[in-house]
């Protein structure tokens, strides 16, 4: 092996030094004509290896488009037709991207399920040809290898991948409500075994190169290189190509066998899985698990199981057929439409639309080392931002410091971070109780108690010590920013940065600007949020901004529903079966009953009877009795025991009895309860758009789904109106309005959309 490599080096260097004459002259000619003719796929010959290079010049990443596919086939036929070529390597020349998947626009442009199935069949045929290639083809992977890209790679005979942090392999189709439609559901089970394959296609989980090698998804890993005679990325790509060419040569000479040696465990697993009743048991178990997790709201996972099952039990031909049919159907489903919309929304919310800030945030100061403050600190120090975490008492600082440490240490235990990285990250954190170092801060985020007078007090204290360029951001969840800014000497530097708890898990950041907030202040806050890894929506100022404001009437309705005799458990099951990831009463417990009561009171004052519904005294009584939710161990539920089944808090039930109302039978069916909750949420969201709090429906959908857990299968309140129909929603609301009045009065914008069915929030 070693000598072969050395010889290879010699041959290569010779080849580069002397131009080839005779046979190779002709070959070069054809290669260069190929270079001229093709946009996406080109190739060159290195000895007897065809190095096929892909690059989509129009995008940041490579995607499988019709053009790319047809050029790829052209090149492959040319390579297969050339008897001198003994093997091939497929590699991307785009930095940090192999193939990130099939082009979503190609699918979206289709008008019918049959048309999409056609696309799927084309892909299947192409990859089948690659699988049956007369010469070995090596996929050389650096960067994301996802979806269609992965299906392409697994059709090749051999896979080499770099250990770059950017290199991930996954089948994320399920997260878009689709399935791997180009043979993925057929090839993966054969390659990885049934359990691993099902896990991969059903979760869409990202697999890192080392793990992929262990699983048998790839054959060979290549290290990332540091700077050498060129920048690291270029050196790594050159290295990857060299190694892949070496492997291709060895494959052609049969020095490397494609037969995998199976370990004892593998053999054992294979023989067990050879039994049809065992497989049946697996399908059943997986199906049950999927049903439990999705409540049947997401069709894709079930179809995926069906495709895998058909392929294994009835053979590939049948499997391919089912795969393409289901792919077509799923592509036309409203769930897939919603999930793709969310995906595109996420991409949109990862951009800074306010330009480059004048100054990068190098130093951040956080006031208040509570749950939120420490959470913000954690997502900052692990990005290398020097962070001050200030509290008023040492105990608070210690608690916050421990939270940050624990957050990262948990990652060390899961091996997603090394202990060394943890220690380095922790060195960016300074816990303190005074204002030392604030003069160097570029931005101060306050996460102190939600009380305007306290906010004013800290704002004045902070402004006395910070430098003129420093931004003051408030992590309030409901207080209008302009009220906070009223105490500021420089309101153009005041902004709202509303994080969601737990900060290290929740992706959303809601940024609130007042009419005085300067553009650079906004740009800086967005840049910081993006660095912290957040999805960002930028909304206008007002009580509750966007997210809290939508939650207000929904919670109010939830309290009324409870008063009307629906038990907390029943309410939770009604909301989760509608698609909310957490039941509403459980959500109140998580947020804190006191916080909910506080917000309800504030927003109630600001918006008046429209925010009414449940009796606000109910939550207050709960708080008085100490039922503040998870943090006190008791809320609607009891959190003391580690039992699987959550116990209802009998104390809360008594409170409910005291506030009991009679349920009006006309609007109290299960479905009506669901739509009462949802319609108030959606109406408030649409009103935010109408009032200009929201700049566009995309941010509205992203905020609702990633901040509040609005059902992802519905794609957010705006996409829900589009797919459900504004007119149908208005009809329902009118019916509830007859019973409850103003709280269900549809807003003007919703009425406009109801009148004109051609109006849609998303084009």
């Amino acid at each position: 092996m070693a000598s072969v490599r050395a010889a290879g080096t010699l041959i290569r260097s010779a080849a580069s030094r002397y131009p080839h004459f005779s046979v190779n002259g002709r070959r070069n000619f054809s290669a260069s004509s190929a270079l001229l003719a093709r946009t996406y796929v080109n190739y060159e010959l290195k000895d007897d290896v065809a190095v096929i290079k892909i690059n989509d010049p129009s995008g940041r990443v490579n995607t499988l488009t019709k053009m790319m596919e047809s050029e790829m086939m052209e090149v492959l036929y040319e390579v297969w037709g050339n008897g001198a070529v003994k093997s091939a390597v497929v590699i991307s020349t785009k930095p940090g991207s192999f193939i990130a998947g099939a082009d979503l626009n190609m699918i979206k442009a289709c008008k019918s399920a049959e048309e999409v199935s056609g696309l799927s069949r084309d892909g299947q045929k192409m990859f089948e040809k690659i699988e049956n290639s007369p010469i070995p083809i090596v996929a050389a992977i650096n960067g994301p290898c996802l979806g269609g890209g992965l299906e392409f790679a697994i059709a090749c005979q051999y896979r080499v991948a770099t250990k770059s942090k950017k290199t991930v392999l996954a089948c994320p189709e399920v997260l878009l409500g689709l399935l791997p439609g180009a043979g993925g559901t057929q090839r993966l089970p054969k390659m990885l075994g049934l359990p691993a394959a099902l896990d991969m296609v059903l979760t869409g989980r990202s697999i890192r190169p080392d793990k992929a090698k262990k699983m048998g998804l790839i054959h060979h890993v290549v290290d990332q290189l540091g700077p050498g005679l060129n920048d690291p990325e270029a050196s790594t790509m050159k290295y990857l190509e060299e190694v892949a060419v070496g492997v291709a040569k060895d494959l052609a000479k049969k020095k490397i066998s494609l037969e995998k040696k199976k370990g004892l465990m593998q053999k054992l697993q294979d023989s067990v899985l050879g039994l049809s009743f065992v497989r049946k048991q697996i399908y059943n178990t997986v199906q049950k698990k999927v049903m439990k997790q999705t409540k049947g709201l997401y069709p894709a996972p079930l179809k995926i199981i069906e495709c895998v099952q058909t392929g294994i039990e009835k053979g590939s031909a049948e499997g391919y057929k089912v795969e393409s049919e289901h792919f077509g159907k799923l592509a036309m489903s409203s769930e897939s439409n919603a999930l793709i919309g969310l995906y595109q929304g996420q991409v949109a919310c990862k951009k800074n639309n306010f330009g480059k800030p004048e100054k990068d945030v190098k130093k951040l100061a956080i006031l208040g080392a509570g749950l939120m403050g420490a959470g913000i600190a954690q997502v900052s120090v692990d990005k290398g931002i020097s962070t001050i975490l200030k509290d008023t008492v040492t105990e608070g600082v210690v608690r916050g410091y421990n939270q940050v440490y624990k957050g990262m240490n948990d990652k060390v235990k899961k091996k997603s971070m090394t202990s060394f990285e943890r220690d380095t990250n922790m060195s960016f954190l300074s816990g303190q109780i005074d204002y030392s170092g604030f003069q160097n801060a570029d931005i101060v985020i306050e996460a102190v108690f939600e009380d305007l007078s306290i906010k004013h007090k800290v704002l004045k204290e902070v402004e006395a010590v910070i430098s003129p360029h420093c931004i003051f951001a408030s992590n309030t969840s409901a207080l209008p920013i302009k009220d906070i800014a009223a105490a500021s000497k420089r309101p153009d530097k005041v902004i709202g940065m509303h994080y969601f708890s737990p900060v290290d898990k929740m992706q959303l950041l809601e940024i609130i600007t007042t009419d005085k907030t300067s553009k650079d202040t906004t740009a800086t806050a967005v840049a910081l949020g993006l660095k912290q890894g957040k999805l960002i929506i930028v909304v206008g100022d007002g009580p509750g901004f966007y997210t809290t404001r939508c939650l207000g009437p929904t919670l109010s309705e939830a309290v009324r529903v409870l008063q009307e005799g629906v038990t907390p458990k029943k309410l939770d099951s009604l909301t989760t079966s509608f698609g909310f990831p957490v039941g509403l009463t459980a959500l109140i417990d998580e947020v804190g009953v006191d916080v909910a009561a506080h917000v309800a009171e504030d927003l109630g004052k600001a918006f008046g009877p429209r925010f009414g519904g449940g009796n606000p005294e109910l939550l207050k009584t709960m708080v008085q009795k100490g039922f503040k939710g998870r943090k006190t161990g008791k809320g609607w539920y009891i959190y003391a025991s580690k039992k699987k089944e959550k116990q209802l808090n009998s104390g809360a039930e008594e409170v409910l009895k005291a506030f009991k109302l009679t349920a009006p039978p006309a609007v109290s069916g299960d479905e009506d309860v669901q739509y009462r909750l949802t319609s108030r949420f959606v109406n408030e969201a649409v009103l935010c758009l109408q009032e200009g709090i929201l700049a566009d429906p995309i941010q509205g959908d992203i905020g609702a789904v990633f901040g509040l857990g609005f059902p992802p299968c519905l794609g957010g309140p705006f996409r829900f109106v589009d797919s459900f129909g504004a007119d149908k929603l208005v009809q329902k609301m009118k019916r509830y309005e007859d019973v409850y009045g103003i709280q269900f009065t549809p807003c003007q914008l919703l009425l406009d959309y109801a009148k004109d069915p051609s109006k849609k929030f998303h084009k």
Binding site: A2, A6, T9, G226, G228, L229, Y239
Partner: protein
């Protein structure tokens, strides 16, 4: 490049004598062409190397296998005393380097000095800085003398890889420590009962970076790839190292070696790792770290070695007053550090231009280069990095490359690849070899450079003592 290297090396073999002769005759010309006549600085004490010795370097697990680190260190110290006839009580201070510490002798400098018969009134301390530990010991000595605190300091380094501390697992250690404190039999029994099979798995020391968990060989392989160093180039360089070392050994040039009578065994007087092989033999080896496509193999890497070295460093005036003729001046030196992941072994590239600038010399002024050869791939990567404007501009923030040392002045008596590399003993060997080569070849300036774990590096300029 590779063939060039091989050619120049072969012609060297054939023409060595003639070449040497030419060198000596041209040495006057060379001297007049230097940027600076001497590196002596007004107001700064001249610090000189009086003598340098080392035990033979042996592959670990061979003749030294049953010793302890301080035994080896003692042998080097005694050898130094013996060779110089230096009065023990005139030694003001002793500094010793070591990397893998024997816990029983954590200040190995003191234990070895006492055992070697130095005065118990001479203080001794131990330093550690990975593969440049004895460089650190020597520059500590230079500092003590330059600051006027001492006049005669013994520096050195020892490494003993035949025995390394292998520890109980953390869990087991914790249990054992608690056992000490347990007062009742019941408490002891319950602690003993808590021992599980997993407690018994030992912890082995690894030649891996703590910060990145990457072994050095793996990093060297990636480094070689980043600089496009081929397997063949590496094998050729390793072969050059072994061939030159063999020649130096045969011609008796390795005069820094002092024989060592190993208790119960023969006198050891030769390094035992020098093995010139053939390219074909070397090509058969499989890569040792990056499998299967890597280029670093056992044959083109330095191997685990036992050995110790020692030098006597003095102020020039004191040395002369005591009647000693110094071998060389120890002049400017620098320490550098860089990214421990991707540039772990590039210390020489960073240190060389810096030390040259400090002393006001150019690469052309240097007559003798002695670089530490951790891996052939590492040396060749460093040579390529020093030749690269891209690297100088993008990674070092310099305007232009410093240039690579010419190979006909480079490690001409072998290097760590062939002579062996007892981590903390190598630095003294490099400095002594430069002094000896300067004398033998008639040069004026020599340069030592070395890389070390942790992404650190060192370089020192040495000036020949006027004949």
């Amino acid at each position: 490049m590779a063939t060039m290297l091989l050619k120049s090396f072969r012609s060297n073999l054939v023409n060595f004598r003639a070449y040497q002769f030419a060198l000596i005759t041209t040495c006057l010309v060379l001297l007049t062409a230097k940027s600076k006549k001497t590196l002596a600085k007004p107001g700064v004490k001249n610090v000189v190397l009086v003598e340098g010795v080392r035990t033979p370097f042996l592959q670990s697990g061979t003749t030294y296998a049953d010793l302890m680190p301080h035994d080896l260190a003692r042998a080097a110290l005694q050898g130094l005393l013996h060779r110089t006839g230096f009065p023990k009580e005139a030694v003001d201070y002793i500094v010793y380097g070591t990397v893998i510490q024997e816990v029983k002798t954590s200040n190995v400098a003191r234990e070895a000095a006492l055992g070697a018969g130095f005065s118990d009134r001479t203080p001794a301390h131990t330093v550690t800085m990975a593969c440049i530990s004895s460089n650190q010991a020597m520059t500590t000595a230079v500092g003590l003398i330059a600051a006027g605190q001492c006049d005669a300091v013994v520096a050195g380094g020892v490494e003993f890889m035949s025995d390394v501390p292998i520890r109980h697992s953390r869990k087991m250690r914790k249990t054992m420590l608690s056992l000490n404190k347990a007062k009742t039999l019941g408490a002891r029994l319950s602690l003993l009962g808590s021992i599980r099979l997993a407690h018994l798995s030992p912890e082995l020391p690894a030649v891996a970076e703590f910060s990145t968990a990457e072994t050095m060989g793996h990093s060297a392989d990636r480094l070689a790839a980043a600089f496009g160093v081929s397997r063949q180039e590496q094998d050729e360089f390793a072969l050059r190292s072994h061939t030159l070392a063999k020649k130096a050994q045969d011609e008796g040039l390795l005069s820094d070696i002092v024989g060592f009578k190993v208790p119960g065994k023969d006198i050891v007087s030769k390094d035992n790792g020098i093995r010139p092989s053939t390219m074909e033999q070397m090509a058969k080896l499989k890569p040792a770290f990056v499998k299967p496509h890597g280029t670093v193999t056992a044959a083109n890497s330095s191997y685990l070695t036992d050995g110790a070295s020692a030098v006597l460093i003095m102020s020039e005036e004191k040395a002369l007053a005591m009647g000693y003729k110094p071998k060389a001046y120890l002049r400017d030196f620098v320490y550098v550090s860089q990214d421990p992941k991707d540039q772990l072994l590039l210390g020489p590239t960073y240190a060389t231009p810096k030390v040259l600038e400090r002393s006001g010399l150019t690469l052309a002024d240097i007559d003798v280069f002695e670089f530490h050869e951790a891996f052939a791939g590492q040396i060749l990567a460093n040579l390529k990095a020093m030749e690269s404007d891209w690297f100088a501009q993008n990674c070092m923030g310099r305007k232009a490359k410093v240039g690579a040392p010419p190979l006909d002045k480079f490690n001409m008596w072998g290097g760590s690849l062939s002579l062996g590399h007892p981590f903390a003993a190598t630095g003294c060997r490099l400095v002594t070899t430069v002094a000896h080569r300067l004398k033998k070849e008639g040069g004026q300036y020599g340069l030592v450079a070395a890389c070390a774990a942790g992404g650190q590096g060192h370089a020192m300029v040495i000036e020949a003592y006027p004949q």
